[in-house]
């Protein structure tokens, strides 16, 4: 049964009609055309689909629409506006990626880490970044560059 839902996505209000079990991921990619959020597994196991729900990272692939209803969603597209987020600048600076498919989910999660680090005025450690990103899979082996980029972003060096 399709029902109607209201979402705030990147600061814009959207009304969406769909089955309440539909994952947020597909509403973003399909109904709203925001394809920057990636589909990787659909099962909460790879991190590719990570978005912010009220500022906290979640897997959009296992967030059903009924639970997102009325909440604010931030996607990768918004992090880059108007200015790229320090994490995005650092990832480019470090050439931290090969295929880049994993990067939008990683960027979204790392942006929260880096924002927190900035507000508490400290630089992230290697172990902290690895732990935070451990649920994000990267098959190309760009891990170490990504970690270095996120640390630099937290230190304000990007």
């Amino acid at each position: 049964m399709e029902t109607s839902h209201t979402l705030d996505v990147n600061g814009v209000q959207h009304d969406v009609t769909c089955d309440p079990q539909t994952p947020l991921l597909w509403v973003l990619r399909d109904s709203l055309g925001l394809t920057g959020t990636r589909f990787g597994c659909g099962a909460g196991s790879c991190g590719a689909c990570t978005v912010l729900l009220d500022g906290a990272p979640v897997h959009s692939c296992d967030t059903p629409m009924w639970s997102a209803d009325g909440h604010a969603v931030t996607t990768i597209e918004h992090l880059g506006r108007p200015e790229p987020h320090p994490v995005q600048r650092a990832l480019i600076e470090h050439q931290a990626g090969q295929c880049g498919y994993c990067l939008s989910g990683i960027t979204v999660r790392a942006s929260v880490l880096v924002d927190e680090a900035h507000s508490s005025g400290r630089t992230l450690t290697d172990a902290e970044v690895r732990e935070a990103l451990d649920g994000h899979l990267c098959r190309c082996g760009a891990h170490n560059r990504i970690v270095a980029a996120v640390i630099d972003a937290s230190a304000g060096q990007a």
Binding site: G40, L79, G80, C99, S104, T107, R130, D134
Partner: protein
Amino acid sequence: MATPSIEANPLISQWIDISATGVVRARTGKSELGQGIATALAQIVADALGVDVSRVQMQAPGTGSGPDEGFTAGSLSVQHSGSALDAAGRAARNLFEVEACRAMGVDEVRLDDGWFIAGERRTSYWELASSVGLDVAFDAGAGGNVGSRAIGTSLPRRDLVDKVLGAPRFLHDLRLPGMLFGRVLRPPYRGAQLGSLEPGAVAALPGVEAVVVDGSFVGVVADTEIHAREALEAARVNATWTGAAPGVTTADVRTFLTEAAAESTPLATRDEDASLADTVGQARLSARYSRPFLAHGSIGPSVAAALHDDAGLRVWTHTQGVYPLRKDIARALDVPVDAVSVEHVEGAGCYGHNGADDVAYDAALLAFAVPGRPVHVTWSREDELGWAPFGPAMVVDIESTCDGDGTITSWTWNGFGNGHSSRPSTLRTPSLLAFASQSAGHAIPPSNDPPMTAGQGTGRNAIPGYEVGAVTAVAHRLTEMPIRASALRSLGAHLNVFAIEQHMDDLAQHAGADPLEYRLRHLVDPRGRAVLERVAEMCDWPTRPTGDAAGRGLGFARYKGTGAWCAVVVDVEAEERIRMQRMWIAVDVGRVVNPDGVVNQIEGGAIQSASWTLLEQVRFADGRVVSDTWEEYPILTFNDVPPIEVSLLDRPDQPWLGAGEASMGPTAAALGNALMDATGIRVRALPLTPESIIAAMELQA
């Protein structure tokens, strides 16, 4: 002299197009697979023509306008496409130089970012573009020395900004006017035939535009991804299946590989009586090594789009070879090749023959059901890990002899497994997954191995680069294929280098020698010695990490015997499982086009190989692949990846070589040797999991 790429595409205009607007468009048949090839090729074109690299636009491969370069495989893109573009660029520059001299009435010009300058006078590629035709044949030796400006610099990747900003860039993001979305229902197990399906029940769901049933092929097309997913689930519930599954299970793969029918190809033969006579009575070491089937495991599932209309069939794909895919699609549909056009759009990382070609054919089949509307098809994670071709499981037997000084006197290799290539258009019938399910289709024939000249498959890196006396090597390619296998990054080199290097360490131990010293003693090749010496310096060999469970291992190979040289040292701690502590890699890829790109490829390859070697194994029973989720098929994660140092030995005067596969074998080898160093247990069956370590201990006891 001509390379295969030039032979097939002999005209400059097939590679390079110079426009009056100051832009150079360069074409390649090699796909951007996440390896950064488009950037490296642009650097080569820029230097060949003498223009700034920012002027060079690389066009994605496509049938029709682009050169036919077969597949993007075997670490040959820089060697083939790079060399062809280099030669085409130089040849074009010669033609323009002549024209510039003629136009300005001078004998000599100097070239600066596309401007031909003689004293006060100047003209340019762009001004002369309409007066110089490029439908001219060229050869590999064209042009003189042009110097390097872009080559040798770490130019940033051109595609990365979009990817970090989340801009549409992947084929997954392609949206065309009127686009529909399709999904394909894969059978529940290999060998399953469709028993019954009620298409009407699925067709009645919201947004469904078509339900396609052809033999055991089932697909749905709907107006949105969401509706297509819902329709697929309805079809899954609705369908019944019959038919017997193949009997092979994970546990008996090794037996299957050595007992199944096979075709044996000698790769190296010695005169048995003459050369082996001396080895009688010498120490003899024989051992069996193996690896399981491996999954590609790209983070983005395979995807494609297709449109069928009056103009024919158009396909958008992340294939490794647009021309071979076109040929196989045409064969499978029984239409002329001209009726199909295929364009490359970037997908997620590609490490070999994955599901890209299969999903392209899925999309083609669905497109026929909705003429005039493009159909976009995405595989599920389960399809990706369960139905894409796997890297073949292998068994390798090595027997060697050595004299009283520990000098190796003979070497015998036997390798068993499925062939490493069932790429499109290379087999007797199409190798597209859905074709095997269609009523007029055909099962996919067993994979082949590439010929020795292309580096073989099962036998890739089977013959050691060391001086080992008389060598015999026989590849046994299975002539049945219950579990579909094809090319995965480095093909047989992953296991072969692992096997050779475990064997070398065991021989060194027998001889009471240091593993590095023992290798150098058997290695003449100066570039091989140089990478070994470099890596030894980097890690301060023979220092070892301290601690009960700590160990250090070394691995080395020259990829394919003709490619890049690579040596790896890894430190591990082996407690309840193996944890890498640090890794050092030295590599020689000849002249380096983009140093940072090479380091990225080498390091990424090492991490991927470590993941295969430590963790990965496709598991199946009753024709059902059970390792079709990330929980069941774990790969290395951020916490597992150690610090890695890569050192490039730059050889500006040597030909450039590919970097994508060079570190796979040596990394696996170093890990096995580090485990042995840490625990005294020699594990010869991959992956190096706690279970296989226990099994090896039992065997040793």
